[in-house]
Symmetry: C2
Subunit: 345 residues, 2 copies
């Protein structure tokens, strides 16, 4: 079993496996070259292009994990929610009432995104041939985060309209979250059945809510999705960005690993979720500073991750302006850090 | 002494005083009418217009606090950092190196913003005459938050450039933070000497940083500003937005009150800062929902604030799309809540 899967399954591995959120994308010159010829949606919906973009960081950095190149919005169009990228995702008709929720379809595993299944099959074959130590990760958005976009209609700093919707239309919100959960289960089961070896559920906007609101509209639907994958026996990673105040609710979710942001040290998360693998949590801004300081910060995260299973990653997606040489330094530092020797000190 | 000042000074008052962050501004039709004739900077720099805008919510809602209408960027131009509003503040020449920091001036109390001193004198006279129960609050940005803008140059979701600057130019960052702290002391002392009866220090971007970074670049400079006001004997309020993970550092700051956001319940803050007045923390999105649900949420915050001094407020600025009728309902609910009777239950 690959190092990444061993760590995600709870093993206190001799070195930390490493991958980087958004590793496939704009910080790579080879991605930007492809992007000049194809728009985002074409890259994400054309299996050989998707596989190529997904593999770019694996070839360059020999990452322990390859994460499918895609967008968490992918399952929305088959539900009946059309998207545009300008360049961020924008819904042509956001969900604003119960009738709009009732009109949504829940696509089957076969319908939801066949191009993703094809890309995953291509990727597994190529990885097994050329990068046998690299595990393939699938991913999706949590129901709460997908609902945030579905109601707001576009990116926002505050998502005021969505937060108001939870108050003015709580029944419609629950119906929407339920449909998004069932769609996400189909979407992620499809990914695993096509060959994804672990999955990450991104709750990028969980941190906007207080714990009571998250306990009502966030955690139950994340749990429903995670429970819906349990029989597949692949590690499930959950990320609640900016979720320090949600630690109790997050720690109770049925998943093998928590991906945590840079705000709160790994040790504090270890204390509330001792049975879970921790993934993270370098501040992505560290990649923009001097490389010696970066190495120090990477070592700090590695030391904080001792005493249990740890997957090295950033606390959030890599900034597009990051220098690939900085990522190389990061990866080399993680690979050179002997966790068992350090823990014995 | 007014109810607001009593509560800020630590008294467990019979009812919670109330004001609302950004109460003077875009959610009010009378503000929008003025804004059609004058741009933001004119309103903030013309004392009789500033006083008029500051008083609009006091007249409409009989708030217990009037907060000066201004922008936290106000002290930057006299330091040599020119600003444009398009409509958010944009620096014409952001600070990017040590030379730019060395070129900055630290204006004196008399130089920093005489138009603000004039507005405060007008306001105190008008409040004493027409609204004797309403206290006047001054405010400023914390050094960390001002530095965030000074380096980034404009609003941003991630402030990646600033976060990189802290790593690549730590000495320049400390020099910048020191100058911003001294300027902020002059700016806030001027406000108090002109008549402000309490001051709030806004650390709007504190929550972007992990506790170690905040302990290095945030807390020491917030402390320097707060210490620099101690002899004036006015209550000092500190707000660290999204600061649940900074609770220990924030609770140790020399201030009478903490203004806290909606993410974390008041009781959790009371536990770490038992000697401080708590201000907050209704989710501003509650004002966009049904008014009965709003009243329930307001009561929930009021109950959570029992057991110590509490100033009712939002957890962040009011959304511009908020209905003044919702604010009226909020204020009426706070006024109708007898804290001593509730606490005795």
């Amino acid at each position: 079993m690959s190092l990444l899967l061993r760590a995600l399954n709870g093993e206190d591995t001799p070195r930390a496996p490493v991958w980087v959120m958004r590793q496939a994308g704009r910080h790579l010159p080879e991605y930007r070259a492809l992007k000049e010829r194809h728009d985002f949606w074409t890259l994400a919906r054309t299996p050989d292009l998707t596989a190529e973009v997904t593999l770019q960081p694996v070839r360059r950095y020999a990452m322990d994990g390859a994460i499918l190149f895609s967008d968490i919005m992918t399952p929305l169009p088959p539900m009946g929610l059309d998207l545009d990228f300008r360049p961020g995702p924008v819904l042509t008709a956001p969900v604003r009432d119960r009738a709009a929720v009732d009109a949504l379809r829940v696509p089957s595993e076969d319908e939801v995104a066949p191009f993703v299944a094809d890309a995953i099959r291509l990727l597994r074959a190529e990885l097994e041939r050329d990068h046998p130590g690299t595990a393939l990760l699938g991913f999706g958005g949590s129901p709460l985060t997908l609902a945030t976009y579905a109601v707001e209609g576009s990116g926002s700093k505050e998502y005021a309209r969505f937060r108001a919707f939870l108050r003015s239309e709580p029944d419609a919100a629950h119906a929407l979250l339920g449909k998004l959960a069932d769609t996400s289960i189909a979407y992620l089961r499809m990914q695993v059945n096509a060959g994804a070896q672990a999955v990450q559920l991104f709750d990028s906007w969980a941190g906007l809510h207080d714990a009571a609101t998250y306990a009502r509209f966030g955690a139950p639907y994340a749990k429903r999705v995670l429970d819906g994958l349990a029989d597949l026996k692949v590690p499930r990673i959950y990320l609640a960005l900016d979720g320090a105040h949600l630690e109790r609710e997050v720690a109770a979710l049925p998943c093998e690993a928590l991906s945590v942001d840079w705000r709160r040290p790994l040790g504090a998360w270890r204390a509330v979720a001792p049975a879970k693998t921790l993934q993270g949590n370098l501040d992505p801004a560290a990649l923009l500073g001097p490389h010696d300081a970066l190495e120090e910060e990477v070592r700090g995260v590695l030391r904080a991750g001792l005493g249990g299973a740890h997957v090295f990653n950033l606390g959030h997606g890599i900034f597009p302006q990051s220098d690939p040489a900085a990522v190389e330094r990061l990866v080399a530092t993680v690979r050179g850090f002997d966790r068992h020797a350090q823990a014995a000190r």
